[in-house]
């Protein structure tokens, strides 16, 4: 709602914008709205990876849940619709390969960016840009709770909020845990031949299944809310598909990042054209579809957990 309808450019954004080399917003008549400024938050590579994440994750979640809740009629029907166990099994494995693929692509991406920026590994682990929890995350968390309770202002979030860091690390951890346990389930004969006892396959099943439940449950509720369904983004935030965020929004949402960008001059470097309307349209269509699938799945899971699952 914030990115597409607001016809005016808030005055507060003016100084930063005027400093940039990009065409400065010309003063026009009230009938022609001023052109909005966009900052490139995710590059194409990252956006493509997230696309892979969405496709593979949804596939894995839906096909996996049909087995986890195979005793529930709704999932049996779903499995039938999807072409039966053989098809869902195949889809699950293909999606698993995609998952491993994006995992390694992402690791390669991080490594490449580090090399280009001549960063040391230790630098990756701290500072404003790291995705690992920092001291300021704790402060921000406390401030956030205070803000929730009306005891303080909204914290000045930086590049990554603590819940975004959790999202990221959860995927990192999830891919490792679910991926490894999944491999054991995929190739039980190979793994047991390597000396893993048979009951470990049972343990792997529980880990795989419950970790998957955690992941899907988390993504389809917490991540969906934090990113898309929260009132100032509802019904969705298309930034992960369009890649760029309106500067004004960035300033409001992540003031610390905004200031840092302005200070370092990065902001001007990152200013881009507004996303193509068609791209935005497709982004929203795809995003809404994915959100809907996720929501339906989570409703079915909750229904099964409460009423039918043992």
């Amino acid at each position: 709602m914030t990115t597409d309808t607001d016809p005016t450019m808030p005055a507060a954004a003016q100084p930063a914008v005027e400093a940039g080399p990009t065409p400065a917003p010309r003063k026009k008549s009230a009938r022609t709205p001023r052109k909005k400024l966009y900052y490139q938050r995710f590059d194409g590579y990252s956006r493509f990876l997230h696309l892979l994440v969405i496709i593979s994750f949804l596939s894995l979640a839906v096909t996996g849940m049909t087995i986890k809740f195979s005793g529930v009629g709704a999932f049996q029907t779903l499995s039938r619709w999807l072409g039966g166990y053989e098809v869902t099994g195949f889809v699950h494995r293909v999606a698993a390969v995609i998952t491993f693929l994006y995992f390694f692509l992402h690791v390669y991406y991080v490594q490449r960016r580090m090399r280009r920026a001549k960063m040391k590994f230790s630098e990756l682990l701290k500072g404003e840009n790291t995705l690992l929890p920092q001291k300021h995350d704790v402060t921000e968390f406390v401030q956030t709770v205070k803000w929730f309770l009306g005891l303080g202002p909204r914290p000045d979030y930086g590049r990554w909020t603590y819940w975004e860091k959790f999202d990221y690390l959860a995927v990192f951890w999830g891919v490792l845990v679910i991926g490894l346990s999944g491999l054991v389930l995929w190739f039980p004969e190979t793994f047991t031949a390597m000396g893993i006892p048979g009951w470990m396959v049972n343990v792997a099943t529980i880990i795989h299944s419950d970790e998957a439940l955690l992941a899907t449950g988390f993504i389809f509720t917490v991540h969906f809310f934090n990113t898309h369904f929260r009132p100032d983004r509802f019904p969705m935030d298309p930034v992960i598909f369009t890649g760029s965020v309106e500067v004004e929004e960035l300033k409001e949402d992540r003031p610390r990042l905004y200031e840092a960008l302005v200070k370092s001059g990065e902001l001007e470097k990152g200013l881009v054209e507004a996303p193509h309307p068609l791209l935005e349209k497709w982004a929203r269509a795809f995003g809404m579809t994915a959100l809907t699938i996720g929501l339906i799945t989570v409703v079915m899971i909750i229904y099964s957990m409460i009423f039918l699952y043992r």
Binding site: S70, G71, T88, F148, T192, A193, R230
Partner: protein, 662 residues
């Protein structure tokens, strides 16, 4: 004149020898040899003459008059007018004792005037030994002797309600009578052979020689080895041991009409056909309907009975009747097919028939009447391929199917045609496949609740084993066999897994999916845990290929894993898993196929893993749930403020624009 002299000489020489035994007899003869001697008895004049000549030749000839007439005092003659009746029991106490308790004796006791005495059969002074051809009790004379009272039209026969009619006529035509009269066999059975001479009792009397319980013994006086040759009907010594459970002789061989062969010579088919070849021949039944009595000779000629004559089956004909076949009653198939008819009487069909249920079949319902074909004849209704529809005639097709209480409902036939047996028979044309009668028997079918039934749970296995013998052998060694396991719980029989009428191929998907249900009915807990693990979960999604109970445990050869021969024993388990998982190894087979994370003692690793994961899950969701719940109202507030702020800014800007323009 010479002849007269010769006779006189003969009389003189023999008479004194004959009754010159005692002086007393001579004194009796002094009066009683006079043919004119009479006395008054009950108002009538009766002769008191005694034929001393006959007496002398009689079996008592040597005894003398006073041996029997003991109340005569020879020193004080003439004796009193009336002498006591001779008491035969003085000598023949056994025969008289039997006579007294017999039907004849009790009739005499009751004072019935037609009741016979000893003399009625044996005579008085002229009693001859039974071996004497001239004796009334000589074997060839007995039918005539008994017939004096018991043939049709006598007063006895009219007054006494005897269920058997035409006794003498029937006897004369029977194999026994035939032997006696036409073949001169004196060892054949006559009246007394079966009824005894003195101890004649009605067949209801337990002591009677013709009582159900005794008849076999009676017949066996002559047919001593009959049990050995009657093995099809009775099993060796059964007649003595269980007289009520096997048919007795007369069930098949009607008394008085016992016959082995039809006397075609005396009664040719042509005689029957003079009337019965008329297409219009009919009779009116009591309810007014007409029943055709036309017989198509061609039918009989092409039937299994083609060598037989009409009266081979229609035995109840008698020359005394007009026409001879009047009221000849239904054909008694049992005369030849005793075993089958005996089975039939035991069967539910027979029971219903006996109760008078008109819907119940009889022999002809399935086999037809004159055109009876063998069961190997494709045209026969009982030919294997025709049989299911024959049974279905009553059990499914009718408006009011007979069997509507069975669990299968009325669709037994439909189910059967879809079953592997039905497909084998009707689609693949296999005659060796099981039809209705292979399981239910042809003549002795009984409901499965009856212990004697071939489909009673206890008998099902052996019924199936008539074809599936090898399976039975395996099954008998398995844990499910009553030979191996003693339990008060129900052990499964074949039909608990392979449904009776809808039995399907065991490699078919439908059957494979049913296995879980079938085993699960009894093995509830392990089936539940099976569904907690991979095989079960995938099965629930409809995977037919995935391992079902029988793939690991075996089907008929199920044994506990502790048994070395079990498919799951330490020696065999890897091979068993290899059926699906070719790279199975010792560690791999350690996979817990029935594991549950709810059992802390049995599966601690799974239990703690599960609870660790659950705690993690609950932790994360609680944290972020709370986080969201707190965020939401705040975010809504902020959003409202933002909108308000932006509106204010926009208005300010517009105002600014306006001032710019102006």
């Amino acid at each position: 004149m010479r002849k007269v002299l010769l006779l006189a000489l003969l009389a003189w020489t023999t008479v004194p020898v004959a009754y010159g035994q005692s002086a007393e007899d001579e004194e009796c003869a002094a009066c009683h040899d006079d043919r004119t001697l009479t006395a008054e008895r009950n108002g009538r004049t009766v002769s008191m003459w005694v034929n001393f000549k006959a007496f002398a030749q009689s079996t008592h000839g040597r005894e003398g008059c006073i041996s029997c007439h003991q109340d005569v005092d020879v020193d004080d003659l003439p004796h009193e007018d009336r002498l006591e009746k001779v008491d035969c029991s003085m000598c023949h106490d056994d025969a008289v004792m039997k006579f007294n308790r017999s039907l004849h004796g009790s009739a005499l006791d009751e004072g019935r005037f037609l009741a016979p005495t000893c003399a009625t059969c044996h005579g008085k002074h002229d009693i001859l030994p039974a071996k004497d051809e001239r004796s009334k009790t000589y074997v060839t004379n007995i039918p005539a002797l008994c017939g004096e009272c018991h043939k049709e039209g006598t007063r006895v026969n009219e007054l006494r309600a005897v269920s058997q009619r035409h006794v003498l006529e029937d006897y004369a035509e029977s194999i026994h009578g035939d032997g006696l009269f036409r073949r001169g066999l004196i060892v054949t059975a006559v009246c007394t052979s079966c009824h005894t001479a003195h101890d004649i009792l009605p067949h209801e009397n337990r002591g009677s020689s013709i009582h159900r319980a005794n008849i076999a013994t009676t017949c066996q006086q002559c047919h001593r080895q009959i049990e050995r040759v009657h093995t099809k009907v009775i099993d060796g010594e059964l007649w003595e041991k269980r007289p009520h459970e096997v048919p007795i002789c007369v069930d098949c061989h009607q008394p008085h009409q016992v016959r082995r062969v039809a006397y075609t010579g005396s009664f040719p088919d042509s005689r029957c056909l003079t009337c019965h070849s008329d297409r219009n021949l009919a009779r009116t039944l009591p309810d007014g309907t007409k029943e055709s009595l036309y017989v198509n000779v061609d039918d009989v000629q092409h039937s299994m009975h083609k060598g037989l004559t009409c009266i081979s089956c229609h035995t109840q004909i008698a020359e005394a009747k007009d026409p001879v076949c009047r009221d000849s009653g239904p054909v008694q198939c049992a005369s030849c097919h005793a075993e089958q008819v005996n089975d039939f009487t035991i069967s539910m069909h027979g029971q219903k028939r006996a109760e008078g249920d008109e819907r119940a079949p009889q022999c002809t319902t399935c086999h037809g009447d004159h055109r009876i074909l063998g069961r190997t004849d494709p045209e026969s209704p009982v030919f294997a391929r025709n049989l299911p529809s024959l049974c279905a005639d009553c059990h499914e097709n009718r408006m009011d199917p007979v069997q509507n209480t069975a669990a299968d409902g009325r669709e037994v036939f439909t189910h059967y045609t879809e079953s592997i047996h039905g497909k084998g028979l009707l689609e693949s044309g296999l005659l060796v496949t099981a039809t209705c009668v292979d399981c239910h028997t042809a003549h002795r079918e009984l409901p499965k609740t009856d212990e004697r039934s071939t489909v009673h749970p206890a008998n099902v296995a052996s019924t199936c084993a008539t074809c599936h013998d090898g399976i039975m052998e395996e099954f008998n060694r398995s844990i499910h066999s009553p030979n191996v396991t003693t339990t008060d719980k129900k052990l499964p029989a074949c039909n608990d897994c392979h449904q009776a009428h809808s039995i399907s191929r065991t490699d078919g998907g439908e059957f494979r999916q049913q296995i879980l249900q079938q085993c699960g009915d009894c093995h509830e807990e392990v089936t539940e845990t099976y569904f907690d693990t991979f095989h079960g979960k995938v099965s629930q999604l409809g995977s037919e290929m995935t391992a079902k109970c029988s793939d690991c445990h075996g089907a008929h050869n199920i044994l506990p894993p502790s048994n070395p021969e079990s498919l799951l024993s330490r020696q065999n388990v890897i091979e068993t898993c290899k059926t699906c998982h070719p790279n199975s190894n010792r560690q791999f087979v350690g996979y817990l196929t029935h594991a549950t994370h709810h059992d802390k003692d049995k599966y601690p690793y799974l239990y703690y893993t599960f609870w660790f994961m659950t705690t993690l899950l609950l932790g994360v969701f609680s944290f972020f749930g709370l986080h969201t719940v707190l965020w939401l109202p705040r975010a809504i507030k902020e959003r409202r403020a933002q909108i308000a702020r932006r509106r204010a800014e926009r208005e300010a800007e517009e105002a600014e624009d306006e001032t710019d323009e102006s």
